[in-house]
């Protein structure tokens, strides 16, 4: 047990591989079954039907769309916006302050909506999934349609304008500059990054038929208090 070969092979390789099998490969196994894996979606499949918010975004900012997506809000443009939006989301570390995972505990269900389930992460935009480990702002996986495009534009320009206590920084580089020399921006026109990140955030949770269903009602709050005690993983069918 004190020889190099033994330590290297047993501890270095053996135990690592054992752990990989037990805590990475085994949990992966159920997701390789056909019933699950056939639900996998590529970006093109996700973007097949661009949501209303994206079309609206084009109508609101035709000029910006002309520059960014050749003036189109079709599935091709939406696919591109999702990919760029995700890259911005990762590059700005949005996911270090906003989780993308609703847990069955801690009041999450009443606050954000349906508890997260594996199927919704089974797509090309979850390489890797952006669950996050810290919430300074709220969870975003049920965000689609909760706020208008206008709200997001105002929010990315200066978060305290719409959410006074927010500690979120401003993102002026998501906007076309009126005059690069001054910080004043009268037109508030999002650039490609801005349009894409809004499209991406408006997509999060859009696969839920009614994302607002469980939000902020008195009933929902009461249910959530029960769920603290009662809910366990796998009880996702409760609210299908």
């Amino acid at each position: 047990m004190e020889r190099f070969g033994f330590v290297f092979l047993v501890a270095g390789l053996g135990f690592f591989i054992l752990a990989f099998v037990v805590s990475a490969w085994l949990p992966w196994l159920p997701f390789t079954e056909e019933e699950f894996s056939k639900g996998y979606q590529t970006v093109a499949q996700i973007a097949k039907n661009p949501p209303l918010e994206f079309v609206e975004l084009r109508e609101q900012y035709p000029e910006a769309f002309e520059k960014a997506f050749a003036g189109k809000s079709d599935s091709e443009a939406f696919a591109e916006a999702l990919v760029v939006g995700r890259k911005v989301y990762v590059g700005e570390a949005c996911w270090h302050c906003h989780s993308q995972q609703v847990r069955p505990v801690g009041g999450d269900e009443a606050r954000f909506g349906r508890v997260s389930y594996p199927e919704e992460y089974n797509n090309e935009l979850n390489y890797p999934p952006l669950w996050g480990t810290r919430r300074i702002g709220p969870d975003l996986i049920r965000q689609a349609g909760l706020k208008s495009n206008d709200w997001h534009v105002a929010h990315f320009w200066n978060p305290p304008d719409v959410s006074p206590t927010s500690v979120m920084p401003r993102y002026p580089w998501f906007f076309e500059a009126d005059d690069p020399k001054t910080p004043v921006n009268e037109s508030l026109m999002p650039n490609k990054k801005g349009l894409s990140i809004i499209a991406y955030v408006q997509w999060l949770g859009s696969w839920q038929t009614n994302p607002r269903e469980t939000l902020h009602g008195i009933d929902a709050i009461e249910r959530a208090y029960q769920s603290v005690e009662l809910s366990r993983f796998g009880s996702k069918k409760r609210r299908s």
Partner: protein
């Protein structure tokens, strides 16, 4: 201890052969110097981020200094630039002494040194430019990942060579940890940065991301930390480790249980529940095993109580071990599904991470620095007082920060569960974040004291009596002339 018996070099034993130094002090010195350069950047990034959270954006919003990017700079530089450089410096000092063999090549060492700093520079710039990867603690831009794996492989070859060539029949404890850690680092990095990025999506990738975060601590930083403790503590105290049996239990327990725990970073998530239960159980198991290592340290130290006062290095090791005990005890509780309902996503976790990465492993590297810097520069510490200031500012600042963030986490978690409006959890956090920034300032001031002292020592005139030509051969100096505080 076998360190003393294996110090005789085997090189130059045949007639006509050139005597090459066993240890390259230059490599040790420059890796350590680089590590403190990067620590400076990382600490400043942390302090900057803590003030940005208080809505201070320092005269406008700079894109490259956006808080999200600064946060990633802070965490990644700590792991790969500070800790890894510090460990490499330590390894260049320790491994040849324990094996009686040179590392594969000092030229390769300088190559690794240069390449690694270049990679860190590229990572630093890349993160500021928004090129991050969505792997927590591995946000290193994807185009750097393969190079980092190559770097890890070169490091492995460099240090496996003397270990394999060693004539000792059985390896000393430190070398068990090192022997496993090099291959663990490479495997962990590949698993965490390539599988979730290219091969596995969604929930299955989540499990691997949890493993990655955890293994980087448990299979790279921790084995390096305990490896150095098992070497430097007996050397400085001039006595052997208390129990060989306990060190065996500690090592094999860590090797078996540690890699099994990664999923505990995502409890109550869509990862299959059996994996979550397994991770919880093995976490509690490893905390029991870890206790044996801590007992071994304190029993070794027992009887040398005055060293806490007289040796600054031992003081860092001692406090680090105490914090290690606290984090491990904390772990055994916070890993349960019950605790997780409240503390997940809160500042509690941030406090825990700081106590582990800073309070334990950084403290231990401080101990190494205090012990080695005079030997490397040939000068006595310029100011013992500054070292004392550094100790008190850092240790008290860090521990208060841990208490502050832990409390903040409880406040946040209970407010969330009470379904208070989101704003309230932010408003309630402000005082804690102010205090955190204040403590961060104290830590940075302590760090300035240390860096000034390092530079003045290297440039200073207080000669240490070491024959430079034989620096690599000399027996480890146990007099510890520089480590006496104040």
């Amino acid at each position: 201890m076998s360190a003393a018996s294996s110090l005789t070099p085997n090189i130059g034993s045949r007639p006509g052969e050139v005597r090459l130094p066993l240890v390259s002090n230059g490599l040790v010195k420059w890796h350590i110097a680089a590590s403190y350069f990067w620590l400076t950047i990382a600490l400043l990034a942390g302090l900057l981020y803590s003030t940005q959270l208080l809505q201070n954006y320092h005269g406008g919003n700079s894109e490259i200094m956006s808080p999200g990017r600064v946060r990633m700079v802070h965490t990644n530089l700590i792991a790969f630039a500070f800790l890894t450089n510090g460990f490499l410096g330590m390894l260049y000092w320790v491994v040849p002494r324990l094996t009686g063999q040179r590392v594969l090549s000092h030229k390769l060492g300088w190559l690794i040194f240069a390449v690694w700093q270049a990679l860190m520079l590229a990572m630093w710039i890349g993160l500021h430019l928004g090129e991050a990867q969505a792997v927590e603690w591995g946000e290193t831009p994807v185009w750097l990942d393969p190079l980092i794996v190559v770097g890890a492989a070169l490091v492995s070859i460099q240090f496996y060579t003397p270990i394999i060539r060693s004539r000792e029949r059985s390896m000393y404890v430190s070398l068990w940890y090192f022997s496993a850690a090099f291959v663990w680092l490479a495997l962990t990095y590949i698993m965490g940065n390539f599988f979730p990025e290219y091969i596995v999506p969604g929930a299955a990738a989540g499990a691997m991301l949890g493993l990655y975060i955890h293994d980087l601590v448990g299979l790279w930083v921790t084995p390096m930390g305990w490896g150095l403790m098992y070497f430097f503590v007996p050397v400085i105290l001039k006595k052997p480790v208390w129990s060989h049996a306990l060190s065996l239990v500690g090592f094999w327990g860590l090797a078996f249980f540690y890699p099994l725990q990664g999923v505990h970073h995502f409890l109550w998530s869509p990862i299959p529940m059996f994996a979550q239960y397994g991770a919880v159980i093995s976490t509690i198991a490893v905390e029991i095993v870890v206790t044996t290592v801590i007992i071994n340290f304190y029993m070794t130290w027992r009887g040398s109580e005055s060293s806490l006062k007289n040796s600054m290095a031992i003081r860092w090791f001692w406090v680090g071990a105490l914090f290690y005990f606290i984090t491990c005890l904390q772990c055994a509780f916070q890993v349960t599904l019950t605790f997780q309902t409240i503390i997940h996503f809160t500042d509690w976790v941030v406090g825990h991470a700081h106590l582990v990465m800073f309070g334990v492993f950084t403290f231990w590297l401080y101990g190494v620095l205090i012990h080695l810097w005079p030997k490397l520069t040939g000068r006595e510490w310029w100011s013992r007082k500054l070292n004392s200031w550094h100790f008190w500012l850092t240790a008290s600042g860090l521990f208060l920060m841990f208490l502050d963030l832990t409390t903040a986490g409880l406040v946040q978690g209970f407010l969330w569960r009470a379904l208070a409006p989101w704003d309230e959890s932010v408003i309630a956090s402000y005082p804690f974040w102010y205090f955190r920034a204040l403590l961060g300032t104290a830590i940075v001031i302590g760090h300035v004291a240390l860096v000034v002292n390092m530079i003045m020592t290297a440039a200073g005139a207080k000669k240490l009596h070491v024959d430079e030509d034989y620096a690599g051969y000399e027996e480890v100096d146990t007099e510890e002339p520089a480590a006496v505080a104040g």
